[in-house]
Amino acid sequence: MTAIATGASPAKTTRRGSWSRRAPLLPALVITLALTQIPFVLTIWYSLQRWNLLNPGERSFTGLANYQATFTDGTFWKSIGNTVVLTAGATVVSMAIGLVLAILLQKKFPGRGLARTLAITPFFIMPVAAALFWRSAMFDPSFGLLGWLTDLAGLPRVSWLSEQSMLSITLITSWRWTPFAMLVLLAGLQAMPDEQIEAARVDGAGWWWQFRGVILPHLRPFLELTALLLSMNLIQTFGEIALLTAGGPAYGTTNITYYVYLRAFNSFDFGTASAYGLVTLVLTIALAMPALRLLSGIFRQEGRR
């Protein structure tokens, strides 16, 4: 780290030298800028227009009318509420189960490697394929496994995707993201010096005190990071909603990503959909900022170590 830093000392870099340094970076940087920043600038421009593909002749500048429509649209706010519920619910569930599993799978036991591999697998299964399988083999009220399980428990059969739609979506997204939470927290646990736990054990601390006094404080930055990475991804949940509930019933599972999709590609109202997109962007940036700050904090710590 220090060797690299001194090599880069700005006093010695001539103008030509600094351009030969920059040249390898430029293609990747230009492409990333073009593919991520230009669309957002265009979205701002589109959001100020009245623009429906079904009435192509009527495209015109309308100022903030789309934003007014956005803020007075009850369904838009409902979709924000759904996004919060789904994101928070699945993040909490994934982290809780992921943490317990990470602690268990960090300990040595026979077949640990295989157990870890099996546990991580749901994260790699194609989400669309998994959603379709869950739809017919798990959630279906007459043929699904969950119906059989509720029968066993003596509970009435539930039509999961219509009566408990949000719970169902939360369940399948948590299933996909728990392995990821587990993997990150496992890496966090492995970065913990053994001496800390050993010292606590020698001091006679029980497992609960080892957990509260040693493991949890060490894991804190990793827990925060996991929560932020999970929520950044869960905000964008799309495939599961499209395939399981199509946002219903009565927009009950329409999150913001799905609502933008409905507006743009079902109603073809590009102007309003752009305004939705931008409001989403602003809300996400509010969430992303602490994430970036946290990451750069972890990097500074790494540098010190």
Partner: protein, 294 residues
């Protein structure tokens, strides 16, 4: 921390040695609950996949039973049928998109990562954080201009548009991962090579790239996994010239009667990425944490 560590090891080490023979029995008893719970948790997460595999070998009549049927006459018929109905066209597109976008990702990410670690540009840290920040932008906020521009360039319903967008999706991740691998190349190795008079492209080709080869493979595999599973761009920008997630989506109209068929196709499309994912699960952490954890 650096102050306390030597002390605590000094105290812990002898205690550990002395206590070892006496502690072994209760270590073992403490171990079994951990093993049982660990296996239970893993199997619980894996059980829907095991169930999917099971159903894929059943007849539709067996598969329609809500109670899991463990004894049945297995059939490979659904796997045979899985490869019909235009499967290969979509699979070919999926492979093309994943492979071409991943090659482009590596070609662009390696030099960029080099310029952010080995021979860094001014403000390299800020550039790195710009790359991450793009991963945190909501996809919904950019899809409309992407659609409009793709339409104007006649790229809708082409494999090309997916290659370009998957490149944009995976490039930041790859830059971060490869940078963290490059930072582990010892500075002395590079200095020694430079002393011997090797020029920079040569050092890169014959020393640095071979050293980080495992990391490059892991990056490539992950990029393939994410490209293979990507659905949002595929469904919004393509219809017939599309990838496997869009092919899968067609089973939606088939309904409940085709559980076993859905299970077989879902297995077929997931097997390649699950295997790739297993191979690179360790690097996944590094990649998704942007190298913050080794």
């Amino acid at each position: 921390m650096t102050v306390t560590t030597p002390q605590s090891t000094a105290v812990a080490a002898p205690a550990e040695i002395r206590a070892e023979p006496r502690r072994r029995p209760d270590m073992d008893t403490a171990r079994w609950p951990v093993a049982v719970l660990g296996w239970l948790g893993s199997l619980l997460l894996f059980s829907p996949i095991a169930y999917m595999l099971l159903k894929s070998f059943q007849s539709e009549i067996d598969a329609a039973s809500p109670a899991p049927r463990l004894i049945f006459q297995p059939t490979l018929g659904h796997y045979r049928d899985a490869f019909g109905a235009g499967f290969w066209a979509y699979a070919g597109n999926s492979i093309a998109v994943a492979v071409v976008s991943t090659i482009l990702v590596l070609v662009l990410a390696v030099p960029a990562a080099y310029a952010l670690s080995v021979r860094p540009v001014p403000k390299a840290q800020d550039v790195l954080f710009f790359f991450i920040s793009t991963k945190m932008m909501p996809i919904a906020a950019g899809i409309i201009p992407i659609y409009v521009v793709a339409q104007q360039l006649n790229l809708l319903n082409t494999v090309t548009v997916l290659i370009i967008l998957h490149l944009g999706m995976n490039l930041p991740l790859a830059v971060w991962m490869i940078r963290s691998f490059l930072q582990e190349v010892p500075g002395e190795v590079l200095e020694a090579a430079a002393m011997d008079g090797a020029d920079r492209p040569r050092i890169m080709r014959s020393i640095v790239l071979p050293l980080i080869r495992p990391g490059l493979w892991a990056t490539a595999l992950l990029s393939c996994v994410f490209s293979w599973n990507e659905y949002f761009y595929a469904v919004n920008l393509t219809t017939t010239a599309s990838t496997l997630p869009v092919f899968m989506q067609k089973f939606l109209s088939f309904g409940e009667l085709y559980t076993a068929q859905v299970a077989a196709v879902a297995t077929v499309v997931s097997v390649p990425v699950v295997i790739l994912g297993w191979i690179c699960q360790r690097s996944l952490v590094r990649g998704l944490l942007f190298g913050a954890v080794k």
